[in-house]
């Protein structure tokens, strides 16, 4: 009888401890997830009652001529981010891992841009990207006889400009991840490679990089998931312009929902969000499997 009582009291206090998590996740995570599925098949405008419309929202999104622009731009952003942003942290981390003194200083410097609020960074870089010959970057290029480059004002240059800033803002985080992984390279492997007559580059190629293979795949997927959701840079730098050359998928979602002159089209917005989410969820699943295998 008394053990039954403690059991009941125990489960009551368990519930008390679980309550904050249940409330917050229920209201702000689980319910919105379910709701996004419901909303994607409804016509919702907050004025009239929601109305079931089947797959009309998805059809409307797929028929929007801006969709293919947004998808292409997002893919272009992701590809450029890989080309610019993927090798840089890797090379930096490999060199930094061999620094004996003051490695802390190197890490500190590399991580610094990560803590700058993105809105601040974009506003600062927007000034750097001034297209006049007296702009900051154009002055620097001018000193070596290049430019001036139109940066954000030209459809062909706008996206690479965004990617350069985004890479600057994010690379430090990846450097730290790589550095942490590099500490665990077994020293014997380097010793063994030396016995086999490997030079520094040989050791990097045959020992360091193979050791990083797992984590390189993870950072690759994380980066793709991150870049697929790019919003702040195109929104603050160019608002999707010039000529929609930096309109990304999430910017399109935002426009459907919050910048619609005829009132928010929440159905279309959630339908597009859902399509993006499914794509990313598949990638996350791969990511989760890999981290699991990697951490075991």
């Amino acid at each position: 009888m008394s053990s039954l009582l403690t059991r009941a009291r125990g489960s009551a206090s368990t519930l008390v401890f679980l309550l904050p998590m249940l409330l917050v996740f229920g209201l702000f995570s689980w319910w919105p997830i379910v709701r996004s599925v419901i909303m994607s098949v409804q016509q919702t405008n907050l004025v009239t009652d929601p109305e079931f419309v089947g797959l009309d929202n998805f059809r409307a999104v797929l028929e929007d001529p801006l969709l293919s622009t947004a998808v292409q731009n997002t893919l272009w952003f992701a590809l450029l981010a890989l080309v610019f942003g993927y090798p840089v942290p890797l090379i930096l981390a490999v060199i930094m891992s061999d620094v004996r003194r003051a490695r802390g200083l190197y890490s500190l410097l590399a991580y610094l841009p990560v803590v700058i609020p993105p809105a601040v960074a974009v506003l600062l870089w927007r000034f750097f990207y001034d297209a006049e010959p007296t702009g900051v970057f154009n002055s620097i290029l001018g000193k070596v006889g290049l430019g001036p480059v139109p940066w954000l004002e030209d459809p062909a240059w706008a996206m690479p400009s965004l990617v350069i800033e985004a890479t600057w803002a994010a690379a430090g985080g990846t450097v730290i991840i790589y550095l942490a992984a590099l500490v665990s390279v077994p020293p014997e492997q380097y010793d063994a490679a030396e016995v086999d007559g490997a030079g520094v580059l040989g050791k990097v190629w045959h020992v360091t990089l193979p050791h990083l293979r797992g984590i390189m795949l993870i950072t690759l997927i994380l980066q793709i998931i991150g870049t697929a959701q790019v919003f702040l840079e195109p929104y603050l730098f160019t608002d999707g312009g010039p000529n929609n050359s930096t309109l990304t998928v999430l910017l399109l979602v935002y426009r459907y929902a919050f910048q619609n002159t005829t009132g928010g089209d929440y159905g279309k917005a959630t339908a597009l969000s859902l399509m993006l989410a499914l794509t990313l969820a598949l990638l996350s699943l791969v990511y989760f499997r890999l981290t699991r295998r990697w951490s075991e």
Binding site: S13, T14, F17, L18, L19, P20, V24, F25, L27, F28, W30, P32, I33, M39, T44, L46, L92, V94, S97, D98, R100, L105, S107, L108, L109, A110, Y111, P113, V115, I116, P117, V120, V122, L123, L124, R126, F127, T134, S139, G172, I176, L179, A180, V183, S184, P187, D191, K203, T208, Q229, F231, L232, L250, V253, A269, L276, A281, S284, L285, F288
Partner: protein, 298 residues
């Protein structure tokens, strides 16, 4: 995990022998120096430039953007930014949002982690699975349904738009925090908990007097990242706080940029990133430890 190997045990890519060779030594010093120069110019440079132009008159910055030492120093810019364009209001708004997000995240992660790890109800595994599953749903994609939920809360029909509750309650739904805290609690010495139980410690006393005092490392990590994330956040406060008088710096600065003189704007940007930078310098070990092993293994 092996990542916590001490520096003495680990060796770098280069060997003692290689580093001893004169030519190699020169090359390596040169390479390391170049990387350091690169990091100083690229990572620190823009921030130093910002600091310089924050106290430089607009015309100097426009005409000679690369001038190292400005002609006139204009300290008044900082004051103008703080007072005249009301940066102080947005600064304190950001502080309130950061503090609130921190408190909510802390409460949810610590109580939830404790229940899942130590109290272990039978349905705990399912619940934890549901929490982890939210990691697969990119937060930013939930923007619209979350906005509509906050606009008209289930059951109560409260409208949290333009309230700080709307800004910081959703931050608590972080599966990452729960996983971090739960894994840390999982690794706490079971003997201590068992001993406390034998001494008649109830769930609440165990939580407050035994588990929490042992959890400072993980609480530090959650705190630092919670505050920084709230300070950096842009899109959610943009959506949930349309009232300019309530907006944080991130949301307000882009609006101010169009109507503010350049030197004052640069001062405003500098003020806006001063606190995160200071925060980073103070807690740099937590940020630079890398990976989560440090936090989990304490």
């Amino acid at each position: 995990m092996s990542a916590r190997r001490s520096a003495a045990e680990s060796r770098g890519i280069t060997s003692e022998y290689e580093r001893g060779r004169p030519l190699f030594k020169v090359g390596r010093t040169l390479l390391n120096g170049l990387v350091l120069l690169f990091l100083v110019l690229v990572c620190l440079g823009p921030i130093l430039w910002l600091a310089k132009s924050a106290i430089t008159p607009t015309q100097d910055t426009l005409r000679h953007p690369l001038e190292l030492w400005p002609n006139g120093v204009d300290w008044a810019n900082l004051r103008t930014a703080w007072v005249d364009i009301d940066l102080k209001l947005y600064f304190w708004n950001t502080v309130v949002i950061a503090f609130g997000s921190w408190a909510v995240q802390m409460l949810v992660a610590v109580t939830g982690g404790y229940a899942l790890s130590i109290l272990r109800p039978r349905y705990g595994r399912v619940l934890y699975g549901l929490v982890l599953a939210t990691m697969f749903v990119p937060a930013v994609v939930l923007l619209v349904p979350l906005y509509l939920t906050v606009l008209d809360m289930p059951f109560t029909h409260w409208n949290l738009v333009n309230t700080y509750w709307g800004a910081f309650l959703p931050a608590g739904a972080s599966a990452f925090n729960i996983a971090l805290v739960k894994r840390f609690f999982d690794n706490l010495p079971r003997e201590v908990i068992q001993a406390a139980r034998v001494d008649g410690c109830g769930d609440f006393r165990l939580f407050w007097y035994v588990v929490l005092p042992m959890s400072r490392p993980v609480l530090g990590v959650v705190s630092v990242f919670a505050v920084l994330a709230a300070w950096k956040d842009f899109i959610w406060p943009l959506v949930v706080l349309p009232d300019p008088a309530k907006q944080p710096l991130s949301v307000r600065l882009p609006r101010l940029a169009g109507v503010t003189e350049l030197d004052v704007m640069m001062a405003a940007l500098l003020i806006s990133c001063a606190l995160p930078i200071a925060f980073f310098l103070v807690f740099q070990r937590l940020f630079l430890r890398g990976g989560l092993d440090g936090a989990v293994k304490g």
